[in-house]
């Protein structure tokens, strides 16, 4: 049994899901629902980010409330590089690298902070990033945002002899990267580093006694997670051809945490499901509710969040190891 690829053990349902994901746009393309392709593409970007955040929140157990900042850094890097005439396939790794460097510099002084102190510092950095993007007019054009359409230097996104421009093109590009991120995540989870993360999540002091270098391993996870966000940000900027600070608010960071937690912290299929639910439910409600009740959809979404949290506190598709531990704890309580 190949334990390292546990996520691929029961392979056929996965291929079914991938097949469905490939076929969906073909069905939607010619119908009046073709706008859904764009929404599904955005969902894919959320999935990439949620998988990244899952490393920090799910594997290591640290709360990060400013993750959107790194999506923003990726997006702005892409916008600036593209306007400077750098091609997409060079810019994308550059975005990832730049985002990781930012994360490294920010992480270095703050990773010794524990629990909610770390959460508030990440929140602070998230807000600072947004405010700087909003006010540094000479670089970011402030609240008006940066457009890639007004600059002649921007090169089209080429892949072999195709040019990617439509929503469907980007949908497939994003699908490819979602699959890549799932593979990277599951390999990370089952690596030496991943097991060390779980040890840190379960008990920092015990992990330290086992000889795990806490700050260094937290840093590895912190920086790795930023790579996901930088990548998603880069793709977003090139797809949208426009970036503005308004896309990267604190509320978006909170929604990312929500995706990870309601899906099931540390569980890769759970996180994908969580991202899909949080991104798609408000959209689905828009269609289900008539025009009269459309403004109720956020309220209904809030109710749904509370219900999920109360009835499935471990997440909709929980991590096996985590839920087993929770049950053990309940049993221990029950027997005493």
């Amino acid at each position: 049994m190949r334990r390292s690829l546990f996520f691929l053990q029961k392979q056929w349902p996965i291929f079914l899901v991938i097949l469905a994901a490939i076929l969906i746009p073909l069905f939607l393309q010619k119908t009046s629902y073709s706008y859904l392709i764009r929404i599904l593409g955005l969902t894919g970007l959320y999935m990439i980010m949620a998988l990244g955040l899952n490393i920090v929140v799910g594997f290591i157990g640290l709360l990060d409330l400013g993750f959107m900042a790194f999506y923003a850094i990726g997006a702005y890097s892409m916008a600036l590089l593209s306007r400077a005439g750098v091609g997409f396939w060079w810019s994308l790794p550059a975005c990832v690298l730049i985002t990781m460097i930012f994360r490294l510099v920010i992480g270095a002084p703050v990773l010794r902070l524990r629990g909610d102190y770390l959460a508030i510092v990440t929140l602070g950095f998230g807000e600072i990033t947004r405010i700087i993007l909003n006010n540094w007019d000479s670089l970011t054009n402030g609240p008006k945002g940066l457009s890639l359409l007004t600059s002649d230097a921007v090169k089209p996104v080429r892949l072999a002899h195709w040019t990617l421009s439509t929503n469907t093109d980007f949908y497939y590009l994003i699908l490819f990267f979602v699959i890549l991120c799932v593979l990277v995540s599951s390999r990370l989870e089952n690596s030496r580093v991943g097991r060390a993360w779980v040890a840190i999540r379960e008990n920092e002091v015990a992990a330290r006694l086992l000889g795990i270098n806490l700050t260094r391993l937290k840093m590895v996870g912190f920086v790795a997670s930023a790579a996901f966000a930088g990548m998603a940000g880069g793709i977003f900027a090139r797809w949208e051809n426009f970036v503005t600070p308004e896309s990267f608010t604190f509320w978006e960071s909170v929604m990312l945490v929500t995706m990870v937690v309601i899906g099931g912290m540390g569980s890769i299929p759970g996180v994908l499901l969580g991202a899909a639910i949080v991104a798609l439910v408000p959209e689905a409600l828009r269609n289900i509710l008539g025009s009269e009740f459309v403004s109720w959809r956020t309220l209904i979404f809030g109710v749904a969040l509370v219900l999920v949290a109360v009835f499935r506190p471990q997440g909709i598709w929980p991590n096996k190891r985590l839920s087993r531990e929770l049950h053990l704890e309940e049993d221990a309580r029950g027997s005493t």
Binding site: G124, E127, I132
Partner: protein, 297 residues
């Protein structure tokens, strides 16, 4: 110089409001180790309840209107918070730590959108207090600033007395030290938790009304920014620590005012406030008044 002192007074006024809200965050955190995200919406609910009460009691003479508004806003928020606690947080006492956070985010969305569906635009908050300036030495202090400082300081003194001098306060402190041990010595922990939510929300509701009296307008999403600042203040002082929240609020308000004095563009003052927070936490990882506790396995 006089200008600087006036800025500092502005900062203190705002800071005392942050401090009132921060107390709600910090007391709940002290007992449940949970970030009560919905607290900023309690602040907003206080403002709306106060507004409704003021509109209804328009015809009453003298200070009755505003007094009733305070009573309605504070009690209303307290009851609301206890209800939220029972419905959305109490079932999650033994759940993984982030589950109550998600529940709180959900409650926050519900409250904001419920108010949004009712009134989705800016509403003018009646400016009850005449806009007069009171000279104090060489600086000018407005009447409303005096009211805000007076109300919040007296509320904080009351809270301090309650926490430190009464048996209920003692029980509350016991719960925040060790919930299981408190249960063992016969403290009704669930009731103490409800009470903590009630008190935090009463202070938050009062802060909402004071804030609206200061700025003169309210909106369904008005709680977000002050709520975030107040949470920052609570962490700054050392989360879980009552005097720390007061100190953190006042410090954050003053830091912001100083930021405005030195950096003319208003947006940068938030960078200033968060920058200070990050610096303080790097050098004092548990906040200013937070105690250093050893990690236990």
């Amino acid at each position: 110089m006089a200008n600087l002192i006036e800025q500092l007074l502005n900062g203190l006024t705002l800071g005392s409001i942050y401090a009132l809200v921060a107390l709600g965050y910090t007391m709940v955190y002290g007992i449940l180790l949970m970030i009560n995200f919905a607290h900023s919406e309690i602040f907003m609910a206080g403002a709306f309840l106060g507004w409704a009460a003021l509109i209804i009691t328009r015809s009453l003479p003298g200070p009755w209107g505003i007094l009733i508004a305070f009573v309605v806003g504070m009690l209303g928020c307290g009851i609301l918070a206890v209800g939220i606690e029972k419905a959305a947080y109490a079932p999650l006492r033994r759940a993984p730590r982030l589950a109550p956070l998600i529940s709180a985010i959900g409650v926050s969305i519900i409250l904001q959108n419920a108010v949004f569906l009712w009134r989705n635009d800016f509403l003018a908050f009646p400016l009850v207090f005449p806009q007069v300036q009171i000279p104090v030495g060489s600086v000018q202090l407005s009447l409303i600033q005096l009211v805000i400082l007076g109300t919040s300081v007296s509320l904080m003194i009351l809270l301090w007395l309650f926490v430190n001098k009464t048996r209920l306060g003692q029980a509350m402190r016991a719960c925040s030290q060790d919930r299981e041990a408190a249960e063992l010595v016969g403290i009704p922990v669930d009731r103490i938790i409800s009470m903590t939510f009630f008190i935090g929300a009463v202070l938050g509701g009062a802060a909402g009304i004071l804030f609206s009296l200061y700025y003169g307008s309210i909106k369904y999403n008005m709680g977000f920014v002050p709520g975030m600042k107040a949470f920052t203040a609570a962490v700054l002082g050392g989360i879980g620590n009552v005097p720390g929240a007061m100190l953190g609020g006042v410090l954050l308000g003053s830091a912001e005012a100083m930021g405005t004095a030195f950096l003319p563009e208003s947006d940068w003052k938030d960078v200033f406030a968060f920058g200070i927070l990050i610096l303080i936490l790097i050098f004092r990882p548990r906040g200013i008044l937070g105690e250093k506790t050893a990690d236990k396995v």
